[in-house]
């Protein structure tokens, strides 16, 4: 057996800041500290090795009190390795540029995977579990916000409102869905134009302008286009889309500020905003799927809904001829009727 590598350093007893020059070696896993006037032997597990770094003072803590500062990190680890002592995986990864760059690639990949798959999945699981009281209070806030200047009281007669509510309830019943949402609200959307919202707390809000536009779509069944829109909004509501979006954005905001918070608020906000925009399109597709299924189950056609979107888009192109150009446009921007969405609606309707 060769003689074990000896390394040097300074011993401190923890009671006084006086350095004592020592020589050290590892002996079958134990650390032996030899000073001019004493010798200490700490068994394996009774001392803590420092993380191996190129810079910085390596300090070994002794369980019986005191510590040793090694002079040369290279000698310390040569001795430690001879004695079969290992470093932690994290410390090993941090020592080589190749592994650190691999960690960078994996970090980016896991951030992307988390954003793309884990986060939407977790939000979907967590959203229905959130207390109903939170959703209701959020919904109240949203209605108060809309009523403060964006909307006016509806001009639809009470009988017409009841008729729409009854038709909506019947459609849901025929599709085997839970009873209609607690509140189907009507508002005259001066600032919103033709629009419909699923609000937190089982509330759907429809503007008079949308009811009016839907009336222009001829179909065999009365209010078929309007029911299509309601089915779509019901899809948002049933799937807790708003809560999911909120949860997702909160997590994004926290994660972004944890990683980039040091740079400044802006750096933390940008990813959150971009993430919010991206997520909206996904939720629209999800709501479309629900709508297509409900309409099919209630023996209704998706075509009037598609025609309604077409009408709204036509109005947008022919902006000057409409009464509420801004409103049409706004709805289309958040509900873009792409060819892909039309395909999806038709395909969903064909399925049993």
């Amino acid at each position: 057996m060769t003689t074990p590598t000896v390394f040097f350093g300074r011993y401190f007893d923890g009671r006084i800041s006086m350095p004592v020059p020592v020589a050290m070696r590892f002996d079958a896993g134990a650390l032996v500290v030899v000073a001019p006037d004493f010798e200490r032997r700490e068994a394996r597990g009774r001392y803590r090795l420092p993380e191996r770094t190129e810079h910085g003072q390596p300090i070994l803590h002794l369980a019986g009190g005191g510590q040793v500062e090694a002079d040369d990190v290279g000698a310390l680890w040569r001795a430690a390795r001879e004695s079969g002592l290992r470093e932690t995986p994290a410390s090993l990864m941090s020592q080589r540029w190749s592994l650190a760059l691999l960690a960078l690639v994996l970090t980016i990949a896991s951030l992307y995977a988390g954003y793309r798959w884990v986060l939407p999945w977790a939000a979907g699981v967590a959203a229905p579990l959130m207390p109903a009281a939170i959703e209701r209070s959020l919904g109240k806030e949203a209605i108060a916000w809309l009523d403060d200047g964006l909307t006016e009281p509806t001009r639809l007669p009470a009988a017409r409102q009841e008729q729409i509510r009854a038709r909506f309830a019947r459609m849901l019943e025929r599709a085997g869905e839970a009873p209609a949402p607690e509140v189907l609200l009507f508002r005259s959307g001066s600032g919103l134009g033709a629009n419909a919202f699923a609000l937190p707390g089982r509330t759907i809000l429809v503007t008079d302008e949308l009811v009016e536009a839907a009336g222009e779509i001829g179909s065999a069944v009365p209010d078929e286009a309007l029911l299509g829109v309601l089915a779509h909004e019901y899809g948002h509501m049933r799937e807790h889309h708003l809560m999911r979006r909120m949860l997702k954005l909160s997590v994004l905001a926290v994660a972004a500020s944890a990683i980039w918070g040091d740079i400044g608020t802006l750096a933390a906000v940008v990813p959150t905003v971009l993430g919010g925009l991206d997520y909206t399109r996904e939720l629209e597709r999800d709501a479309d799927r629900v709508a297509a299924r409900i309409l099919a189950a209630a023996d209704l056609s998706v075509e009037p809904l598609i025609a309604l979107f077409g009408l709204l888009r036509g109005e947008e192109l022919d902006e000057a001829a409409t009464d509420h150009p801004a409103g049409w446009r706004r709805y289309l921007r958040t509900h873009p009727m792409t060819g892909e969405r039309i395909e999806l609606l038709r395909a969903g309707a064909r399925q049993p």
């Binding site: 300074r10 401190f12 007893d13 923890g14 009671r15 006084i16 800041s17 006086m18 350095p19 420092p50 993380e51 770094t53 190129e54 810079h55 910085g56 003072q57 390596p58 300090i59 005191g66 510590q67 500062e69 994290a90 990864m93 941090s94 020592q95 080589r96 540029w97 592994l99 650190a100 960690a103 960078l104 994996l106 970090t107 896991s110 951030l111 988390g114 207390p131 009281a133 939170i134 209070s137 959020l138 990683i259 980039w260 040091d262 740079i263 400044g264 750096a267």
Partner: protein
């Protein structure tokens, strides 16, 4: 000047030895810290945040063990598990706060009051935790400030100020005096700002006057008026920067377009709907510029003030942070971090730490080899992690 408040030091005084300047040396490397940082980040993400406690210990150890004084490095002793528990408790409290805010605005108000009331306690716990877990040459630092002192230092001015304000507003309402009410609002605003330097001073005094290294106590000899001086000069600098920005802008417009043209442009712009947005943008730019210029000034002056007025036993500190140098480091860090989407962050942290630490020297009066340790108990990390979560600036 060489008087040591609180009597003769208990140890470390070599007779007749003159103060000898010993520099603080920082040996960390940006590249190496980057490798630690990225592995920490990856493992924290993969473990859904749990590893972040271990990551914090690795980071703190790296910075402590790269900070050397008189041939020995500092060390960090907190255990990851303790930090993890502290983190979980702090996050749970924050989550409860958010849920309560959503459910009941009044509950949020009560919680906010509770949080303000708890603040001195959190500061106390965080300081205890940090000091007890920091050491040099095997001698632990300590923090001997009591909870009562924390409340007296931080809560009393706030409560007195609130009482004064409350009485003022109550009186104005009682006499139905609108003029008095209108007068009270700027007084309330100015008074609150005027209270800030005092609070900062009291926080620093609570911190630096109660810290110790082993049995060697620290003493803080700064005065509140010195803090007011730094704050006032920073405010003046901010005003000068904003005025200078607009003067420069006006000069540039005049130089480009000529006087008549500029007036015409200005008159047209005022009428256009974009004028409001443009003015808002200019205001934001001026504010940001003032912040970017004043922050390094404030930090440099504050670090110099706090450290030059602190001693541990007979040993004094000499801090010579230069405003211009700190400004250059902060600006280049900002640009590089933005350009690299955050990858420069660890390099930036090392650069900043190196400059701020190496600006400090210890005027060691006598022997640094005879500092005696003291027994310390272990402390939970809840205060520390709450302070971390809410970004309380109680950094050493």
């Amino acid at each position: 000047m060489d008087r040591v408040p609180g009597g003769p030091p208990p140890g470390g005084m070599a007779p007749g030895a003159a103060g000898r300047l010993r520099p603080i040396v920082f040996t960390g490397s940006g590249g190496e810290y980057f490798r630690i940082w990225i592995v920490n980040l990856l493992l924290s993400i993969l473990s859904l945040g749990i590893y972040s406690a271990w990551a914090k210990v690795r980071r703190q150890r790296y910075f402590h063990r790269n900070t050397r004084l008189a041939g020995s490095a500092f060390d960090y002793h907190a255990r990851p598990r303790t930090i993890l528990i502290g983190r979980i408790v702090a996050i749970a409290v924050l989550a409860a706060f958010i849920v309560a805010t959503e459910l009941e605005p009044l509950a949020a108000l009560a919680l906010l009051a509770a949080w303000l009331l708890a603040l001195p306690w959190i500061v106390h716990r965080a300081l205890r935790f940090r000091h007890a877990n920091t050491s040099w040459r095997g001698i632990r630092f300590g923090f001997l400030g009591t909870v009562r002192q924390a409340y007296r230092a931080l809560m009393l001015p706030v409560i007195v100020w609130m009482l004064v304000l409350g009485l003022g507003f109550a009186g104005a309402l009682w006499h139905e005096s609108d003029a008095l009410l209108v007068l009270l609002f700027p007084v309330a605003g100015l008074g609150s700002y005027a209270l800030l330097p005092l609070l900062h001073y009291r926080l620093k005094r609570y911190h630096h006057d109660n810290a110790c290294l082993g049995t060697l106590p620290a003493r803080f000899s700064a005065r509140a008026r010195m803090f007011y001086g730094v704050y006032l000069r920073s405010a003046v600098l901010a005003v000068v920067v904003v005025i200078g920005f607009f003067l420069l802008l006006a000069t540039a417009i005049l130089a480009i377009g000529g006087i008549g043209n500029a007036i015409e442009t200005a008159a047209n712009a005022a009428r256009s709907p974009a004028a409001g947005a443009g003015l808002g943008l200019l205001g934001a730019a001026a504010f940001w510029l003032a912040w970017a210029v004043v922050r390094p000034y404030f930090q440099a002056r504050m670090q110099n003030l706090a450290w030059n007025r602190t001693r541990i036993g007979p040993h004094r500190f000499v801090s010579r942070v230069k405003v211009r140098r700190l400004w250059a480091i902060r600006m280049s860090n900002l640009v590089l971090v933005m350009a690299t989407l955050g990858l420069f962050l660890p390099f930036a942290a090392v650069r900043l730490a190196r400059y701020r630490l190496e600006s400090v020297e210890v005027a060691a009066l006598g022997d640094l080899d005879r500092i005696v340790g003291a027994e310390r108990e272990r402390i939970a990390a809840i205060g520390e992690e709450a302070a971390d979560l809410f970004d309380l600036d109680i950094g050493i």
